[in-house]
Amino acid sequence: MTTADSTTDRPRMPSRLELALAGLWAGLRELAELVWSSPTAVVGLAIVLAWVLVAIFAPFITAHSPLEQDYLTINKGPSTEHLLGTDHLGRDVWARVAYGARTILSLGPISVLVAFLLGLTLGLPAGYYRGRVDEIIMRVLDALMAFPTILLYMIIISALGASAFNVVIAIAVGGAPGIARLVRALTMDIRTREYVAAAKLRGDHDFSIMVREILPNCRGPLIVDLLLRIGYAAFYIGTLGFLGLGLPPPTPDWGGMVQEGYSRMLANVWPVLSATLAIVTLVIGLNLFADGVREESMRYQ
């Protein structure tokens, strides 16, 4: 039974990488099942995917470059040449909308991921150790959360300057306290579970307990939060652009387009209308998707 022969016959223990991949695959399948059983999430996902496709294939579905100015066709309405007309510099509005999707769809997820890294590094130890570590971290986070989000973004960007990098920094700093609080709450709950005690009883180190025992079991609420936050991030990237604190021109950026077009609305409503509707549909799509997943996952439990 325990001879060498019989042990080699057995399937061997899977490696860590295999385990991680299997876990990821299982998680994705779980998520896909959740999405599929919620009509809200399916509608949201469809809207978001449409914009993702526009962003990926932007060069193939536009006839003009988003930066190409043509002083002969300024503030024109839609035509076969310019699907959504042209703006005050004669740039093709459809091209700017399509390339603008690239901006918002890349900056949004990146800033949320950075926010999550920050939130996890603060929230896990705060919730796990409690005591003084927790006290200090939470005081600072409370102070950050006392800022109205937009205000925080405004002062960060006015101090650092307007650039894609700084927009990511601002949104990450603004989002991290909320994530840290969520992670902390989850950690405080999970650390009282008996499997954590069991891990301590095999002498595991705190870091290993946090990463191996606690973190994987936070994933459900964290995924839902991540999805919701991508919606917020898009919301704020647009808002910052509109306030003139987003990407510096002439980068195609929906918020910036709205700002530029807004003051020239009486001359041509198309640039501002297109960009506004673009941002509204994307943010609502992201919200519908996240909300559908959230509701379905609550029913699941």
Partner: protein
């Protein structure tokens, strides 16, 4: 039954609409309840007991509905009644008592308003007129300080008081039928005993018919005159309490009886006989007899024919094809003993090898200071004294049982021993190594030799990893076996806890509670520890599974000569399992000694009250009526002198409040900490 029944249920089937279609939770249920009669409804979780209860008032939620059959109350059907008519019945002629009294009461409404509401709805009393009646109702349920309670909110009451409020509310309009759904399950055993006394008395006094639902056979034996046993949505046996307990005729009922530990039977004199398998899900029922897959008397016909509920003996219907074979006698093979006794015979002599010594251990938790002064560290820290001055020793290969009610510090003690809680003061020595340090400062060897089995089956396993991985983590960490043999070792351990090797790749959510607990045990013994601390290992499991897990632990102990500590609130399983027993109250040990001596007089007054409160699965059992009053004092400010003095039924005077009780030695290591003289303690038992 001579009088017309109050409640008459005929061929009731209740169904729930789910995404997979209609699922029949309850099928073909038939019973009567006469005036003033108490019918017990027992079965394991998932058998449809609560569904039956809510069907009586046609309250089945948006998805549930009565599919077939009829419920008649006082001769009139409840089916097809309008909402208004149902409302008049609910809380009026039919009222309910629930399992979780805290959740059942509105948290933001004073008790008097919640009581008055019932009166104003059914009898149109004004607030003013309702007050004296409500107060009267609280007095009827022996509520201490009834006036004071009237103005309080639910969270300001103890669990027992909350349940008294719920019962008072149910009795307000003198109902003809009282439906009680596990009313004492969430309560401590001494509180449970008092509530059961109250229910019995109220029923006698007001001649109220009652349907009493419980998973606990001992409780039902105490309050019910007749008992219906449910299995997988059907009634399988219905008879007088006496007949059910002394001459059960359905194999499921017999199985339930045989897997109950008996508080009156010492360790080693009786074996528990678990029922294999688990209750089938209502959407996945087996063909033929529903119990056939778990039945030890199964014959091929059982797997094909679904038996009807037929009276084999007059007034004792049974749903079993073979019931007629054994009539009222013992069924074939009933006397077959398990293999526990054989193992037990060759237990090695413990000798004098002491494994664990605990000396004056204290665990204090600082109370978070919520005051202004506290914010600046001006005030003196206060502590919850979860464990205060506890000393004992455990010998190799023996089991120490620790009993007490919630809040007595028994779980804290378990955690302190394994190192999950730091000791505030005191010493602990394990195999000659000082273990008064928390885990992070202990050596890997002492960690390996001292492992733990946990309480909550849902928290035992990390939901993110397969069963095999979780056992393997410990094997790798302690390098118990060379890396290439880890898998083989995990499989050996799975077999050791009687699980198939195919469980290796399963995730915890695919396991039942009992199976999870087995994996937890496999993990704990994977390092062949000298000692295993079991913290309420079976309290969250169904009775049929409890027995199997207890037997497994016993088998492991006798094969590996493992030393064990069993923490439990259940005196019966502690007796079944332990060689020595410590009784704890409010952070202190009040009595310690060999198991046989703890379960017979003389006892500490608290032990006496605990033993008197244990529900025995025997309707004829002689009962002591010693009951505890009041609530457990706060561990922040424990009473001076003897900690039990505020609730002690035999308190002898001011000495109990002023001086620490002396340690009285009754020989053979039997210690009682009480001011009462030895011979007097003996007398109190008569």
């Amino acid at each position: 039954m001579n009088e017309a029944p109050i409640l008459s249920v005929r061929n009731l089937a209740v169904s729930y609409k789910t995404r997979k279609g209609e699922v029949d939770a309850v099928r073909d249920v038939t019973f009567d309840i006469g005036p003033g009669e108490n019918l017990g409804l027992v079965g394991e979780s998932g058998c449809g007991k609560s569904t039956v209860a809510y069907a009586m008032v046609n309250f089945l939620g948006p998805n549930g509905f009565i599919k077939r059959g009829d419920v008649q109350f006082k001769g009139e059907t409840l089916r097809g009644r309008s909402e208004a008519e149902l409302r008049a019945l609910r809380g009026g002629d039919i009222s309910m008592v629930y399992q979780e009294p805290m959740a059942a009461l509105n948290p933001s409404m004073r008790i008097r308003d919640q009581l008055a509401e019932s009166l104003s709805t059914h009898r149109h009393l004004t607030r003013k007129d309702a007050y004296p009646e409500s107060l009267e109702a609280l007095k009827k349920v022996y509520m201490p300080d009834a006036e004071g309670v009237m103005t309080r909110f639910p969270h300001q009451l103890s669990g027992g008081q909350q349940q008294r409020v719920v019962i008072a509310m149910a009795m307000l309009n003198n109902p003809a039928l009282l439906i009680m759904d596990e009313p004492t399950t969430a309560l401590d055993v001494t509180v449970e005993a008092a509530v059961l006394d109250l229910i019995a008395e109220l029923q006698r006094q007001f001649n109220t018919a009652a349907l009493y639902i419980s998973h606990n056979l001992g409780v039902v034996a105490r309050v019910s005159r007749r008992v219906a046993v449910m299995y997988a949505g059907e009634i399988v046996e219905l008879a007088s309490t006496d007949a059910i307990f002394h001459h059960p005729m359905h194999p499921y009922t017999m199985g339930l009886m045989r897997c109950l530990p008996d508080v009156d039977a010492p360790k080693g004199t009786r074996t528990l006989d678990p029922i294999p398998g688990r209750v089938p899900a209502p959407d996945n029922l087996p063909p033929g007899c529903l119990f056939a897959p778990r039945c030890r008397f199964v014959i091929p016909a059982c797997r094909e024919t679904h038996p009807d509920l037929l009276p084999v003996v007059q007034g004792h219907p049974v749903r079993c094809l073979r019931a007629a074979e054994w009539g009222e006698g013992q069924p074939i093979g009933a006397g077959e003993a398990g293999n526990i006794t054989e193992i037990r015979a060759d237990r090695p002599d413990p000798g004098d090898a002491t494994v664990l010594t605990v000396d004056s251990a204290r665990v204090y938790y600082p109370v978070p200071l919520q005051t202004v002064g506290g914010l600046f560290g001006l005030e003196k820290r206060r502590y919850v004294r979860a464990l205060d001055d506890v000393s004992f020793a455990v010998k190799r290969g023996r089991t120490l049982g620790i009993v007490g009610e919630s809040g007595c510090g028994k779980s804290t003690l378990a955690k302190a021993i394994v190192g999950l809680e730091p000791l505030y003061a005191g010493q602990a020595d394990f195999l000659g190594v000082d273990i008064s340090q928390p885990l992070s400062k202990r050596g890997i060897d002492s960690i390996r030799e001292l492992q733990m089995v946990f309480q909550d089956p849902n928290g035992v396993l990390n939901p993110s990893y397969t069963v095999g991985e979780q056992i393997a983590f410990a094997l790798r960490r302690f390098r118990t076996v060379p890396p290439h043999q880890v898998r083989a070792e995990v499989e050996r351990l799975l077999q050791a806890v009687k699980l198939d090797v195919s469980y290796f790749n399963r995730l915890p959510r695919q396991l039942s509670g009992g199976e999870k607990q087995r994996v937890g045990i496999a993990r704990a013994i994977s390092t062949s520890p000298t000692m295993v601390v079991c913290d309420e290992p079976v309290s969250a499991l169904d009775v049929s599974v409890q027995a199997a897990v207890l037997n497994l632990l016993l088998a492991i102990q006798s094969t590996n000569n493992t030393t064990m500590i069993l923490i439990s609130h259940d005196l019966s399983s502690v007796r079944y399992f332990s060689d020595e027993v410590a009784v704890m109250y409010l952070g202190r040990i009040v009595e310690f000694g060999p198991s046989e001596l703890i379960y017979s007089p003389p006892n500490h007054p608290y032990t006496t009250a605990l033993l008197a409160a244990v529900p025995r699965p025997d309707p004829g059992a002689s009962r002591s009526n010693i009951r505890l009053s009041g609530r457990v004092p706060s561990a922040i400010n424990p009473p001076t002198g003897c900690r039990f003095n505020t609730r002690c039924p035999f308190k002898i005077g001011p000495i109990c409040e002023e001086q620490e009780p002396p340690r009285r030695d009754f020989g053979d290591g039997h210690l009682i900490f009480c001011h009462i003289e030895a011979d007097a303690l003996d007398r109190y038992h008569q």
